[in-house]
Every structure is written in structure tokens, then in C-alpha cells.
């Protein structure tokens, strides 16, 4: 595993029902690799929140996951509207989601804070009108 393993997923922005499929698949992969359950859960939840965000805020995107000896890295890339004020977006409860999104159980403004909480490293690179790339790492051990 010293070279690292990579996984790539397309996240369909059209279909809320299928959102999260990439995270479910990744969770299965991590189980097969035999990582500790706590690490698997943290990676899964962080990736799932990010995947949902790409669907509800950015019209979909791609997810790349690298599993190395020391950490699991998740890179989420979209060509959506971008995030104008990242500091504000990171605040618990801040959300631009519509009522229709809220009625689907998301849009509580907890996604980015959850991603931060579950990862050991998180960086958001975003440009308005261009898109967003979020990199997260969860350390193993």
C-alpha cells in the first residue's frame, strides 16, 4: 500500500436520489482494505457531506480518493458557482439552500462544519463563477 491506491467517482448533479452513491462505494472499498471502523466512518461522512454539497450547490462534480499508508485523502472538484465567502460558509448553520432542499433533509448549514470536524486537514479552494475544490485528509493512526 506504500504507493497508495486511488479511486475515482463521477457525481451526477441531476439526481438527488442517487447522491451519496460514491461515498457508499468508497465505504465498501475502505472496509475491504481493512481500515479501522472509526477511520472509515470519518472518511465516509466527510465525503458524503461533500458529495451532497456538489449535488445540491454545484450541479455535480468528481470525487478522487487516495489511500496511502498514513492517510486517506478525498478531493472533491466541481465547476459550480463557487463559494463567495468561505469563512461564512464554514459557520455552523450558514446555508444558501432553498426550502425544497431543506425538505429533503439537507441545508442545515452543517455540511462544511461536519467535513472539518471529521477530517484532520481540510482546504477549500474556490472561485466564484469557476468552481470549488475541497481537499480533506483523515490520518490513519
Amino acid at each position: 500500500m506504500s504507493e497508495g491506491l486511488t479511486f475515482h467517482f463521477n457525481v451526477d448533479g441531476e439526481d438527488f436520489t442517487s447522491a451519496g452513491q460514491a461515498s457508499v462505494m468508497m465505504k465498501k472499498n475502505l472496509r475491504q482494505l481493512g481500515l479501522p471502523p472509526e477511520i472509515i466512518r470519518r472518511v465516509s461522512v466527510a465525503m458524503y457531506e461533500g458529495e451532497i454539497n456538489m449535488v445540491i450547490h454545484a450541479g455535480g462534480g468528481v470525487a478522487d480518493v487516495n489511500v496511502t499508508e498514513n492517510y486517506v485523502e478525498i478531493i472533491l472538484t466541481d465547476s459550480g458557482p463557487g463559494i463567495k465567502d468561505i469563512e461564512q460558509a464554514m459557520q455552523e448553520g450558514f446555508s444558501t439552500a432553498t426550502d425544497s432542499i431543506r425538505s429533503l433533509g439537507f441545508g442545515a448549514g452543517m455540511g462544511l462544519p461536519n467535513m472539518k470536524r471529521y477530517s484532520d486537514y481540510m482546504h477549500i479552494d474556490s472561485e466564484v463563477g469557476k468552481g470549488t475544490t475541497i481537499t480533506m485528509r483523515v490520518n490513519i493512526n
Binding site: 451519496g20 461515498s23 457508499v24 466512518r41 465516509s44 458524503y48 451532497i52 433533509g105 452543517m110 461536519n114
Partner: protein, 117 residues
């Protein structure tokens, strides 16, 4: 608390996972907002919710929850049942409302819940 006890206390019906009713849950979480559920960390918890869509099942799957109780007589869709079966998650439905269902479980000793840090 055994899942079968939850079923009894809430006068619930089993939608799927009948063969897993002897499994235990050690904590509970009641919410219609999935990010609130995802903010909460505990193994072997039961999720109580009035929300009905596939994300409820995926949220439980992400959190390693082994039982979901749908309140207010909400009925999960065929697709949700399929996803739950794949993930080995027990689905129950009760006519009780969220507040009441949570209160019953809480007063019967299913207490532990904690948000990380």
C-alpha cells in the same frame, strides 16, 4: 436495548430486517435533518425520523447505524428498502410522532447520545 424491544415499545411494524431484531442499539438520534444526524457520533445507534428518501438510508449507512424508525406512519419506498437490505439496516415504522417516540425510548433507558467534541 434490543431492536425487538424498540419495536414493542413503539408498537412498530418491521419493514425489513426481521431476522436482525435481536441486535442491540446503545443510543438514539431523532431528527429530520440528515446533517444533524451526521454531526453525531456513536456506534450502534437507532435513527428516528419523519424524513422519507434514500438519503436517510445512506446517512444511517455512513454512520454505521443498524436500525431506522420512521415515525408518523411514514412508509419507505421500494428503493429505500432495497438499499437498507443491501446495508443490513432494520427498518421499522410507527404511527407515533417523533417527540413521543423519542420520549418513550428515552424513558425506557435508551439515553446515551453525545456530539463529538
Amino acid at each position: 436495548m434490543k431492536i425487538s424491544t424498540i419495536k414493542e415499545l413503539l408498537d412498530a411494524n418491521t419493514v425489513c430486517g426481521e431476522e436482525q431484531l435481536s441486535r442491540h442499539v446503545y443510543s438514539a438520534c431523532g431528527s429530520d435533518m440528515m446533517s444533524d444526524v451526521l454531526a453525531y457520533v456513536k456506534d450502534q445507534a437507532v435513527l428516528l425520523t419523519g424524513l422519507v428518501n434514500s438519503q436517510v438510508i445512506r446517512t444511517a449507512e455512513m454512520m454505521d447505524m443498524n436500525c431506522i424508525v420512521f415515525v408518523r406512519s411514514k412508509v419507505p419506498t421500494a428503493e429505500m428498502i432495497e438499499l437498507a437490505k443491501e446495508s443490513g439496516i432494520v427498518l421499522l415504522t410507527t404511527s407515533k410522532r417523533l417527540y413521543e417516540a423519542c420520549g418513550i425510548l428515552y424513558s425506557n433507558g435508551l439515553i446515551g447520545n453525545r456530539v463529538k467534541d
